[in-house]
């Protein structure tokens, strides 16, 4: 661990948090719109429409904030866990600048209303080419992170033959290995379909082929967001809670399963798509249910670790140990509450993934309701909890206010518990997602009664995030300098020496993961690619 890793982490964090700020502000406007307060006319010179705002919101929050945070956090964790500097600081900085250049390139059309295509950018909606090339550069940057982590691990292995990879490093490597396999779909969509088409080299596109390549990556990307949160839950939170991780081998098992099963399940986002046979959809449903299993393992292991902490602090009873957790620590409070919210988000996600049940909720308000519990809360609130110790550590200044941070965390929970249940229910009542509801032609009476809750919840979430950013800014500017040590890793009751040594071999797992992807996607992708006339013209209709 040298100053380079800290600086790299800090640089990535700055971009991540600036993006999050933009995403949060645009999100607030949308929540108001749902509640019947149309602020867009007064924003007209900058934000041209509800859909412009929504595209910015999705890209900044779901793509930029997450990716930059992860590319800062996991190399930092790997380097600490291995007690080694990154193999190549040069690749590290090259990665950062490549991703930043990509972000700037993509942001120009995005902010300029030339890429109002949502963060899913389904063709034939056609954004400016800079949007696609910029995002592709960001993805290429993440591959360089994988390379750097792999080289670092190799250097560690050469010095430590025969020992188990430390858990945090193992999990970080698995996360990036999984992502690198998964991102092939998105890269192919960009390089083969959207970039040549947006540049005018190819005249037409294929909506279904593009969607299938997108969702190849598009579901695994949620694990790319989630697994770094799990890294914190497994390797740091048990100690923050005053206890130990229950089982290191069980933790590794769940991550290996995520490596194998995160990608060959993307078609569960396309149950409603014509052109894909139900048999393939059912196979993806089956594998989606299989990937529920490692999440259940995580639930057990992490909650048991919290229980060990709660009991060590004098907690008793079946459930009341939970109250004995160190709730005064905002970093822990944020992450434990993120877990609680994720329990609901995960259950709701299973409903979305449930094949025919998906007919009821596909593309309704249920989906953003789900997303704000999962990536919006489980992931975002965990990352916020991490920054409550990581930013002070990197800045060498204590957190400006712990009380303010605690208030922020609880305010978010209060807000999202109004916002998300309301959206779930609106979805069940048939309200579509991504729609400017205040002006919808088909507004229903039983939607109108619930929409104000979305506005109130969203406003509380916005206030919570303003408190967060204020705290962060004051921490790095006003707090008096004082060394802030990084959090120590948690010990495990059942340690890494109990884990099978096969977990430290990469090739068999990577090959199996590749085979599963080929089996689940190969025939469909080959058929679509072989039969596409590639003749649907692009349109800019916003």
């Amino acid at each position: 661990m040298t100053a380079v890793e800290r600086r790299l982490a800090a640089a990535n964090l700055i971009i991540a948090l600036v993006a999050l700020f933009g995403g949060v502000v645009t999100g607030f406007f949308q929540a108001l719109e749902y509640a019947g307060i149309d602020v867009y006319p007064s924003l007209a010179p900058v934000i041209r429409s509800y859909y412009h705002s929504l595209s910015i919101h999705g890209v900044l929050n779901a793509l930029v904030f997450t990716t930059f945070f992860i590319c800062g956090f996991l190399p930092f964790m790997t380097s600490r866990a291995l007690s080694l500097p990154l193999a190549s600081p040069r690749i590290g900085w090259l990665t950062f600048w490549l991703m930043t250049a990509g972000l700037v390139l993509a942001s120009i059309p995005l902010v300029g209303n030339a890429a109002t295509v949502m963060f899913t950018f389904y063709p034939p909606l056609k954004a400016h080419w800079a949007f696609y090339i910029g995002l592709t550069l960001v993805v290429a940057g993440t591959w360089l992170v994988t390379l750097n982590l792999a080289l670092t691990w190799r250097a560690w292995r050469a010095r430590n033959p025969g020992t188990r990879t430390p858990l945090a490093a193992f999990m970080s490597l698995v996360t990036f290995a999984m992502w690198t396999i998964a991102s092939v779909g998105l890269a192919a969509e960009m390089l083969v379909l959207t970039i040549p088409w947006s540049l005018g080299i190819v005249v037409g596109t294929d909506a279904l082929l593009a969607r299938t390549l997108f969702w190849f990556t598009g579901h695994a990307i949620v694990y790319f967001w989630l697994l770094p949160a799990y890294v914190s839950w497994y390797t740091l939170v048990p100690r923050q809670a005053g206890g130990k991780l229950l089982s290191d081998p069980m933790a590794r098992t769940s991550f290996i399963l995520f490596l194998l099963l995160s990608t060959p399940i993307g078609i569960h986002h396309q149950y409603a798509d014509p052109g894909i046979h139900q048999g393939w959809k059912l196979l993806h449903a089956l594998l989606t249910f299989a990937v529920f299993f490692p999440s259940l393992l995580t639930f057990f292991n992490v909650v048991a670790s919290l229980e060990i902490g709660g009991r060590a602090r004098g907690g008793t009873g079946w459930l009341s140990w939970f109250l004995r957790l160190p709730w005064g620590d905002p970093s822990l409070a944020a992450q434990v509450l993120a877990m609680v919210l994720f329990a609901f988000g995960g259950a709701g996600g299973l409903i979305l993934a449930s094949f025919s049940v998906n007919l009821v909720v596909h593309n309704t308000a249920y989906v953003p309701g789900h997303l704000h519990l999962t990536v919006g809360s489980a992931v975002m609130l965990t990352f916020v909890g991490i920054t409550y110790w990581l930013v002070p550590h990197l800045a060498g200044r204590p957190l400006w206010s712990r009380k303010f941070a605690l208030a922020q965390v609880w305010l978010w929970v209060a807000g999202v518990l109004l916002f998300s249940p309301a959206l779930h229910e609106l979805g069940l009542r048939g309200m579509p997602r991504r729609t400017m509801m205040g002006h919808a032609a088909y507004m229903q009476a039983d939607w109108k009664t619930l929409l104000p809750l979305v506005g109130i919840g969203g406003s509380l979430m916005f206030l919570s995030m303003l408190a967060y950013f204020l705290n962060m800014v004051l921490t790095v500017t006003v707090s008096r300098r004082a060394e802030q040590p990084a959090l120590p890793f948690a010990e495990a009751l059942s340690g890494s020496d109990h884990a099978p040594s096969a977990f430290d071999r990469w090739r068999p797992w990577l090959v199996t993961a590749g085979l599963l992807v080929a089996l689940a996607y190969g025939p469909t992708l080959l058929r679509l690619a072989a039969t596409t006339p590639l003749n649907t013209p692009g349109l800019r209709v916003w």
Binding site: P124, A207, D273, A304, F355, T364, V541
Partner: protein
């Protein structure tokens, strides 16, 4: 006092077994509803040339037609920002088969609470079917972002009480 390793394994097993049983049970329930009760998701109905929708026999004359007693067929095109047809009348108790495609960007076809939920893609023929038993007026909604006036894209299906 830390628990013994054998105790740990027992706890783990007590969690793992139900964790396998639960998704397996849910999946079985899905298979039963999808293939037993016939509530199924969209499948593969073939491609269509998205630039020549009006020449395709299914879509050259969009509209509603009775194909058998109690069976109606809706041949529908979606385009920015409308459905054709955008008003459908059927008697209560009818089964309605929707055939749908897009002339431009990606749209969606949803009739809430009636299991009609299918993406409308240029280049693909979409199909969905449902029974409409209760008389009333139900919205037909485009549920995929399709441009600046996406929220205006809708229609209605009027289920008429039998005389």
């Amino acid at each position: 006092m830390a628990p013994r390793r054998s105790t740990l394994y027992l706890w783990e097993l007590a969690w793992i077994l139900p964790s396998i049983a639960l998704p397996v049970g849910m999946l079985a329930a899905l298979a039963v509803t999808a293939f037993g009760a016939g509530i199924n998701v969209a499948g593969d109905r073939g491609r269509i040339d998205s630039t020549k929708v009006a020449e395709h026999p299914l879509f050259k004359d969009p509209g509603v037609a009775q194909i058998a007693p109690g069976q109606y067929e809706v041949r529908m095109t979606a385009q920015i920002w409308s459905f054709a047809p955008n008003e459908i009348r059927v008697p209560a108790g009818s089964t309605v088969h929707f055939w749908v495609t897009s002339k431009d960007v990606v749209h969606g076809l949803m009739i809430p609470r009636h299991n009609i939920n299918v993406m409308v893609l240029p280049g693909q023929i979409g199909h969905a079917q449902a029974r409409f038993d209760t008389p009333g007026e139900y919205p037909i909604i485009c549920h995929e972002y399709c441009g600046i006036a996406h929220h205006t894209m809708g229609g209605k299906i009027i289920v008429e009480a039998k005389p």
